[in-house]
Every structure is written in C-alpha cells, then in structure tokens.
C-alpha cells in the first residue's frame, strides 16, 4: 500500500513570499506589506488547526509577524521565510493552546458565541455542494486527522518532527497516519455517494 502523495506545493505562495521578503530586506517597505497579505491566510489556517478560537488565533498570527520583524536579520535564505513563518506560528499556537488562565468573570457581559475552528453556520450554508460534502466528511474524521490534514493542506512540506510533538504521535507514524486519514475520508465520501445514489 503506497503512502499518500505529497500535496501540491503551495509553491506560488512560497515563491511570492520569497520575492516579497527579498524586496523588503532590500529596502522596499511594500515588500513587507505584500508578505503579510500573501501569507497571513496560510498562517491563519495552520494556527486554527491547533483548535484555537478566532481571537487567540488572530493574536498568534500577529505575534508571529512581530517576531519576524524582530528576527528578520537571522533569515539568510529568502526561500525559507514561509517555512520559518509557519514553524513559528505553529510553535506559538501550540504554546498558547496549553496556557490555561481563568480570568475574573463579569456578570454584565454580553458573550457572543465564538466561531469554532470549523466555521460558522452561515459560511457552511454557503458552501458549494462539493465543498459541503467534503466538509461533512472531514468533520467525521478524528480530531487528530482533521488537524493533521489541515496543516498538510496549507504547508509546503511540514516538519514531521514538530507535527509529531504537537499531535503526540511517533514521528514515523505521521506519514502512514496521513495516508489512513485520506483513505478514511475517501471511504466517508464514497459512503455518501452511495446513499445519494440509492436515494436518487
């Protein structure tokens, strides 16, 4: 049984990031803006895969960029900037997900239900049929599968050692687990197809 294929390299984004970084370090301030616009969505998805709520995920993304600005001199290879950013974001996300602090409750607060790292009812309702099928299938996978797959879908060759630590799995099992998650997803999607066909 073969292992699952490497996902297609998000190479366009990775190359754009390298170009933007080069321009920024070369003195063009707009390069930093472009870098932020290009990679913030990727960082968002990778961070949300750790199960953080929207507010904490946003904060981790912001922290990641601040760290980049402070440490940019240490990044000697522009092609590595995207990997550096995703690694930093995941490290911070993992750290924050472990912090548990109870704050003073305020009786008068109006609490708005936070959007789970899945999606709001509205955004799910607006999905095209294909995507909502996929969404339903993914939701039925284990938490571990969902996290693993979201990170892999957005990263260019994620660091398996770090993934292993975050998901508390042996490094050697990441690849096979990825394959099993994909297989399980296909089975779930296939089941749905069969039900659909049977009821048609």
């Amino acid at each position: 049984m073969g292992t699952a294929q490497e996902p297609p390299r998000p190479s366009a984004a990775w190359n754009d990031a390298a170009d933007s970084f080069r321009r920024w370090r070369g003195g063009d301030a707009a390069g930093l803006d472009d870098l932020v616009r290009c990679l913030t969505p990727v960082l968002w998805h990778v961070v949300r895969a750790h199960g953080l709520d929207a507010e904490r995920a946003s904060d981790v993304v912001q922290t990641t960029w601040l760290v980049l600005v402070r440490r940019a001199d240490f990044i000697t290879e522009p092609q590595a900037v995207a990997a550096w950013l995703t690694t930093t974001a995941r490290r911070e996300a993992w750290r924050v997900s472990r912090a548990e602090v109870r704050t003073v409750a305020v009786a008068d607060e109006a609490l708005e239900a936070d959007v789970p790292p899945g999606g709001s009812a509205e955004s799910v309702a607006m999905l095209a049929d294909e995507q909502s099928r996929l969404w339903r299938g993914v939701r039925r996978l284990s938490e571990r599968c969902q996290r693993l797959m979201r990170i892999i879908a957005f990263e260019d060759r994620p660091d398996y050692r770090r993934l292993a630590a975050e998901l508390q799995m042996p490094v050697g099992s990441i690849g096979p687990t990825r394959g099993r998650c994909l297989e399980k997803l296909r089975t779930l999607l296939g089941d749905e197809n069969r039900e659909w066909a049977a009821n048609a």
Partner: protein
C-alpha cells in the same frame, strides 16, 4: 511513489479550498497586523505578552453596563484588563498586574498615548480612552527594577481592538 497520485493531489487542493471557504481569516486581520508592524518600535528590547483569554465580543452598541476582560501573560507576570464602555466611543480600563509590581503603563493608539502608574497592589486605571486599535506598553519603574532581578524591563501586548 504512489498509486492514484493525481487523485490525492486533487483532494489536497480541494481540502484547502474547503477550509478557505468554511473558515476564512477575519477581514480585519491583515490590517491589524500591518498596523502593529507599522507601530513597532524596534529600538528597545522588550518582551511581547501573549493574549491568553478574552471574554469576547460585545454585540451591538456598547453601553455603560457592558464590560469585557482581557488577559495577557508574560514570563513573569499576568496583565488583566477590564474594559467598560463609556457611550459608544470611549472606554474605561481597570487593570491589574499580578504578581503586583510597580510599573508605568502606556497605551498607544496611532500617535497618541495615555499613561498611568501601576500602584503597589498592581492596580491601575485609565478612566477615559477612545476605543480603537491599541497597544499597552509596560515598563518597570526604577525602584522596583532595583529590587527585582528582572532581565526584562519593557513589555508590550500585541495590538488589539479596545
């Protein structure tokens, strides 16, 4: 390496597209980051505090009765903020630093700042600030710094919406 490689590759692309559709980043996130980077003071070394909890969003117009709490953590202390609305445009902030430490707190918004002293109990107040993107800076006061063998003298929260 594999059988069905095209199908797998396609599935990964579809998965990414799905998550983009289901759970996009907040619209203001990029702007928030750009503002934070623009106001970043790179001169001094400081410790960046992390948001650990926030009883979130006020829905609709803020009234005097509504408040939210936000907490940030650093290596050696916790910063708690209680933010109350004054009308729609202004805020009152009551803050605590625990363990208590005498510091100076400065809030920066664009090019405006407000400051207050953190007292011996770790408390401070900023009675009236405009709402908006803000960053809280804390600096150890000279007397406290002498008593506490702290490596870090300057701390800052990320930029956040007050």
């Amino acid at each position: 390496m594999d059988v069905g490689t095209d199908d797998d590759a396609q599935l990964w692309v579809e998965l990414a597209d799905m998550w983009r559709a289901v759970d996009p980043p907040p619209e203001t996130l990029v702007e928030r980051v750009l503002v934070a980077l623009a106001t970043e003071g790179l001169d001094a070394e400081y410790e960046l505090l992390s948001l650990v909890d926030s009883t979130a969003r006020l829905v609709g117009a803020r009234g005097a009765a509504e408040a939210l709490t936000i907490s940030f953590s650093g290596a050696s202390f916790l910063l708690l903020l209680r933010v109350s609305g004054i009308g729609t445009a202004f805020r009152r902030v009551d803050g605590w630093v625990t363990p208590a430490r005498e510091m100076r707190v400065t809030v920066k918004q664009d090019d405006r700042t407000w400051s207050a002293d953190v007292d011996g109990s770790g408390r401070f107040e900023l009675p009236r600030l405009p709402g908006g993107l803000s960053r809280f800076w804390l600096s150890a006061r000279a007397s406290a710094a002498a008593a506490v063998d702290a490596e870090q003298q300057l701390f800052a929260t990320p930029t956040f919406e007050l």
